[in-house]
């Protein structure tokens, strides 16, 4: 039973989803069950993170007891454990929001099973040690997210789902091409085995093409430049709990993929890291400007995700242990902040006369939601990176790692270091502009109903989940040392791929 523990964060939501389908006749029981399942999975992923961090040994599990590299490996090293913990922590709050949401989509009897399979796909993709299993899990995630959007209350839900599904299908094909190329060249699908064989023979003809295909896949998954165009449409139309999960943790599968690609699978692909820096800087600038030009709160935060993913990419592109640690810390903090902000925009939409987060409708409605204003203000501070929130610590860590790399001369090129540092520093100010402009429009401007019978609804979605997330942001901002220690260990771990490879060697 103990051997099964590394795989349980993935298996519990999967089994729970199947049971939740059977419970579709009893809605109250179904949602209580789904929430309990998610809590159980989260408890186990927290325990896994703790064990891996304390022992310094990865947890591994072979599906069906087939020996590695033939069976499907679940390999939970510190990076996987940390990402899975982050994903499930945010998912717990996502369920909490869904429990208190007033959407019709949330009352659909397929909502909770699909939400659980979304969590399964994401967690499975993060903890699997088998690259084809990554494809299967990514597909499960995409299909769940698309169906959840298609049943949205928004009348454009089907359109958003169609667009997302088409672009994800392209990502599926590029991922399969990458996997096929790697298998043809190296004859294995196990990530550790693959890394070992690539290091031994880095000149096989299909390797470069496969790495390009994988890089494109992860760019689409993380909605990075130039594959960001699906994200604003999708997040505007999907139900709030879903868009909060997608914008915060589901895009992080691409981030995880890039960390694995640049440190484990293809460290010799020297074009990848400069490419990440370029994509990241363009993302930061373009995302910030895009967020300024939007007319919908949810759309604004979708563009903001593009900018924040850009910061993470620059960290991965620098590639030093400190920069990778900063990127991982940024990933975690952004997941908390962005899910809280999207939940708050969903809350505003649920209170507005017409159910939408467009500025023209929600303008001035904040007067009737003072508590949400406090939470929104603190969230804006965290998003813009102002102390005393966790957003400040992650931005500080990122800039510090860049300056440290210049000081130690680990990165010599000015174009790779100072130019990105300057550009993301200046564009970071855009975050302050757009987030506080939204705050001013919603809370400070007067509410002007377009007809006399238009009134702000007295009750909306529950504020518990975003308030909890923002409280976590504040706690991690004031008392961030344990998290900093943890991400430094993660950074040290990822630059030593041999530790990951050794864990699979034990299973042969």
């Amino acid at each position: 039973m103990n051997d099964l523990l590394p795989a349980l964060p993935m298996l519990i939501p999967l089994a729970g989803a199947a049971v939740a389908v059977l419970l579709r006749g009893n809605f109250a029981l179904q949602r209580a069950w789904a929430f309990a399942v998610m809590l159980a999975a989260f408890a186990i992923s927290a325990r896994n993170l703790w064990v891996v961090w304390q022992t310094g040994q990865p947890l591994v599990f072979q599906m069906g007891a087939w020996a590695a590299p033939f069976g499907i490996t679940i390999a939970v090293d510190l990076l996987s454990a940390f990402f899975a913990f982050m994903a499930q922590l945010v998912f717990v709050f996502g369920f909490l929001y869904a429990l208190g949401a007033k959407d019709k989509a949330v009352r659909h009897n397929t909502f909770y099973p699909l939400f659980l399979t979304l969590a399964t796909g994401l967690t499975g993709g993060l903890i699997t040690g088998d690259i084809f299993n990554l494809f299967v899990m990514a597909e499960l995630m995409v299909i769940s997210a698309v169906v959840l959007t298609a049943i949205s209350d928004d009348k454009y839900g089907a359109e958003a789902a169609y667009k997302y599904f088409l672009i994800s299908s392209v990502a599926t094909f590029t991922l399969l091409f990458g996997i096929g190329g790697l298998y043809a060249s190296y004859g294995t699908l196990n990530m550790a085995d693959l890394a070992e064989r690539i290091a031994a023979a880095p000149d096989r003809p299909l390797l470069a093409a496969s790495v390009v295909f994988l890089a494109v896949t992860f760019a689409i998954k993380s909605a990075a430049v130039p594959f960001h165009f699906w994200q604003p449409d999708f997040h505007t139309a999907s139900p709030t709990p879903v868009s909060a999960m997608l914008s915060s943790v589901v895009v992080k599968l691409g981030v995880y993929g890039y960390i694995r690609l640049s440190t484990l699978l293809a460290p010799q692909a020297t074009w990848l890291q400069p490419a990440l820096i370029v994509a990241g800087v363009i993302g930061v600038v373009f995302g910030g400007l895009g967020a300024l030009g939007t007319h919908n709160v949810k759309r604004m935060f979708a563009y903001s995700t593009l900018a924040q993913i850009g910061f993470i990419f620059v960290g991965i592109g620098w590639g030093t242990p400190a920069a990778l640690a900063a990127a991982v810390l940024f990933t975690f903090n952004h997941a908390l902040i962005k899910s809280a902000m999207l939940m708050l925009s969903g809350y505003l939409a649920s209170r507005a006369p017409i159910k939408t987060a467009a500025f023209s409708v929600v303008r001035g409605t904040g007067k009737y939601a003072p508590l949400a204003g406090v939470v929104f203000f603190l969230g804006c501070m965290a998003l813009a990176g102002l102390p005393p929130t966790n957003g400040f610590i992650s931005k500080l860590a990122l800039f510090q790692s860049g300056i440290l790399a210049a000081h130690d001369r680990t990165i010599e090129s000015t174009v790779q270091l100072w130019l990105p540092l300057l550009l993301i520093g200046v564009s970071g100010i855009l975050t302050v502009v757009y987030s506080f402009r939204a705050l001013m429009r919603i809370w400070w401007e007067p509410f002007e109903p377009r007809s006399p019978e238009e009134k702000v609804k007295p009750h909306g979605d529950s504020l518990l989940a975003p308030a909890g997330l923002v409280a976590l942001c504040l706690i991690l901002g004031l008392w961030g040392q344990p998290l900093l220690d943890l991400v430094q260990d993660v950074g040290a771990w990822v630059v030593q791929p041999e530790r990951y490879i050794a864990s699979i060697a034990l299973l042969r």
Partner: protein, 110 residues
């Protein structure tokens, strides 16, 4: 034989990509199917264990690599589910927007 397979993969990939970029929603769906078959053919032709033993046996008694077949089977199942779902989505879209043109499905951009 290798050349024919390579040309077939290239042709299927080209056709699929061209159809996916067309404006008609049905053509887009057909493009998805053609593309997924291009990839299945690619997996079958190159999927030999370290380039040595092909994924399909040619002679009696020869053992072939079973893994590409398993990959293709999984990919076929997943793409079939995706295709069915995209057809359902197209049905909803064409009923709601009264069009079969991708460029007219633009409710979200204004």
């Amino acid at each position: 034989m290798d050349l024919i397979r390579a040309l077939a993969i290239g042709a299927l990939f080209g056709i699929g990509l061209y159809q996916i970029l067309r404006r008609n929603v049905i053509r887009v769906a057909i493009g998805l199917v053609v593309l997924s078959n291009a990839i299945n053919l690619f997996l079958l032709s190159v999927g030999a264990y370290e380039g040595l033993v092909e994924a399909y046996a040619k002679a009696v008694g020869q053992r072939s690599d079973a893994l590409p077949q398993a990959l293709i089977l999984t990919a076929i199942v997943i793409s079939m589910g995706g295709f069915a779902f995209v057809l359902a989505l197209i049905y909803v879209l064409s009923a709601r927007y009264r069009t079969s043109d991708n460029d007219e499905v633009t409710g979200l951009s204004h």
